[in-house]
Symmetry: C2
Subunit: 430 residues, 2 copies
Amino acid sequence: MAGLGTVGTGVYETLCHNHEILEARANIPFLLKKVAVKNPAKKRSADIPGELLTARWEELVEDPEIDIIIELIGGTTDAHRLVRAALEARKPVVTGNKALLALFGAELFRLSAEKGVPLYFEASAGGGIPIIQSLQNSLICNHINSIIGIINGTSNFILTKMEQQGVPFETALKEAQRLGFAEADPTLDVNGKDAAHKALILAMLAYGTPVTPDKIFVSGIERIEPRDFEFAAKLGYTIKLLVVIRHHEETDSIELRVQPSFVPETHLLSSVNGVFNAIAVNGDIVGETIFYGRGAGKNPTASAVIGDVVTAMRELHHPEHHTGFHPYAKPLRIMHINETKSPCYLRIRVMDRPGIIAEIAGILAWHGISISATNTLDGEPDAGGVMWNDLVFIVHTCPWGRLQAALAEIAKNPDIGSDPAVIRIEKFHH
Amino acid sequence: MAGLGTVGTGVYETLCHNHEILEARANIPFLLKKVAVKNPAKKRSADIPGELLTARWEELVEDPEIDIIIELIGGTTDAHRLVRAALEARKPVVTGNKALLALFGAELFRLSAEKGVPLYFEASAGGGIPIIQSLQNSLICNHINSIIGIINGTSNFILTKMEQQGVPFETALKEAQRLGFAEADPTLDVNGKDAAHKALILAMLAYGTPVTPDKIFVSGIERIEPRDFEFAAKLGYTIKLLVVIRHHEETDSIELRVQPSFVPETHLLSSVNGVFNAIAVNGDIVGETIFYGRGAGKNPTASAVIGDVVTAMRELHHPEHHTGFHPYAKPLRIMHINETKSPCYLRIRVMDRPGIIAEIAGILAWHGISISATNTLDGEPDAGGVMWNDLVFIVHTCPWGRLQAALAEIAKNPDIGSDPAVIRIEKFHH
């Protein structure tokens, strides 16, 4: 094992604590042979024998008695070198490194296939939730219509807090940091990038085709306000940061994006609160399935890593039977975000004067966008005493690109404030 | 494959329809060699070549070119003989037969272990939901604290209908039959027996210990009335037919039962509606996970069967590595229902006269049972003009046996109607 941070410590402790149950069930004896860490002399919470530690991850690859490598270093430099070296040396790798697979997945899956050495990554998307192995095994006969998920616990905790207590984003974020659910630098969690990494992994697995990070459109939750939740509730929705991966049969292309979205209260995903994650997989044979659980954290992630280690042990002498990432289809086209369609919620700050609604409605109409509802939310005067209100528009299904063109034109009006908030309305149909 | 009913037809059609995707992902060529049916001459919806059909299931076992047997006959006579014969002949078996495993699981799992020939049963509990493989693989390092689930779609459809439309049990049942969600004889679905079969399978898998059907306490939903939902809603609950499998560490015993239960609206299981199933698995390492999907039906069940077939193919030449049912613990004790504890909801029909509440409350108190709330629901006069009301009591956590003793005594009072409705209140804590 390389890395003895939070997850590495969880793996070590669980291997000790549940050793008996694990060996009886797995039916294969196994031994943690060596643990590579940056500084073997450092004092650690885990009571790990000093002789297991080494400062060189290369030793794991070189040691002929080591069959399987667990990569928990994190980051994309040493981790990348280690995974490459292990696969080259024909040692199966277990990793939970989502950034690594999002950035270098295409290369590493290709190397894994070339060498016939499996790469296991259950912990890389959805933490303890058995989504990867389910896609690889039980759901194997399904063409995946869509995967729609809440796969960032920090942002879901913040949105839940905002909804339930009516507090602004910053307050909810501070609470998340206080409770240890958000890091000091929460950027990747709240801007959707972390969810995007996981989305890329799920899309690659579902469609057997490499996807590079530039193909996914990402926006975060920083601009959501408590009043958006109020308006959503009136219409029977809540707001979640959704990963949407959806196959469009008519164009044989994939919609791939991370965006804050209205989720109908009738859909189970709307009830996924706090740090929990949930992933809805719609397969052509199985129909809708949903997987729910803790998507991060020491023990849930360790659970997934150990599950993979056992699978790696079972498949050690017959890696050709691993149902991992197998390119099976002609490369699919990823839709440009501008081609994707849905109804949307728009919140636009405007100066309180007659005619302003008509002007905005006129521009939307000129772009062929129909309005299904509109409302004015009371605003506040600015420093100069000018009154600004929030206008809300619900627009019917239209292409994202067309809406952006309309919004760009609307933004030219000097009586309209900075960037409007745009939240997609997710329909969950197929 | 033996059996070409609903699920068998689904398997055949899916193998044809998704053949390409399946072979590419599974990376193993495979062939459906023979299909045993009762009457090969019968006209069928599936467009299956006549030369594949045979009337003798024994041929599947005898044919040296057949490696894996899929048992979809149903019932527990021929199916039992076939599975036994296949395991004896060292041919791995895939089955979705919950009654077979509930009744003969202990025997068949023992035979499978003795012969070193795996028995796969993903489709036997939860239909298309990948619960079995998840317990066997991804969650393998977890000690299972509890499994709490909604695993009968027919009864869940009826309860959902009753809750959402306020209709009585019989009306909801008729609607379920009209839509094909309930069979002409719905007994096993509404009395909890079908859910109990699946619960036995899950318990055996989770705790690695054989469990016989007499060890599980089962009650059904036949006596639930719309007014129970109204009262539940007032307290923030809904009513579901829950399977409860819970390990009690202090006594090292397992609570194992199927009973209608109040489920808090804050828990995701309360939002599982219609024919959908959901299973909440709480593991000591992973925490709470929930698996949701279609628990029955042609295609969802076929999806699970084919997932197992692929696993069986992968493990064909190294069955020793199958993480199936491995007894790993000392035999656990199943708690008698009378030892299990929870708060409860009681609805008791009583004659409308002064003092009746005090009498019932007195008997409960004498048995050491505390009342946390009580209410009178308006009733109707009987044929003789005597007015009968429904009294509702919510009682604090107490042993089931003690509550039954109190109810037996209460029932002796001639002013009290037939059997009271008792619904447990599920707390979901650990």
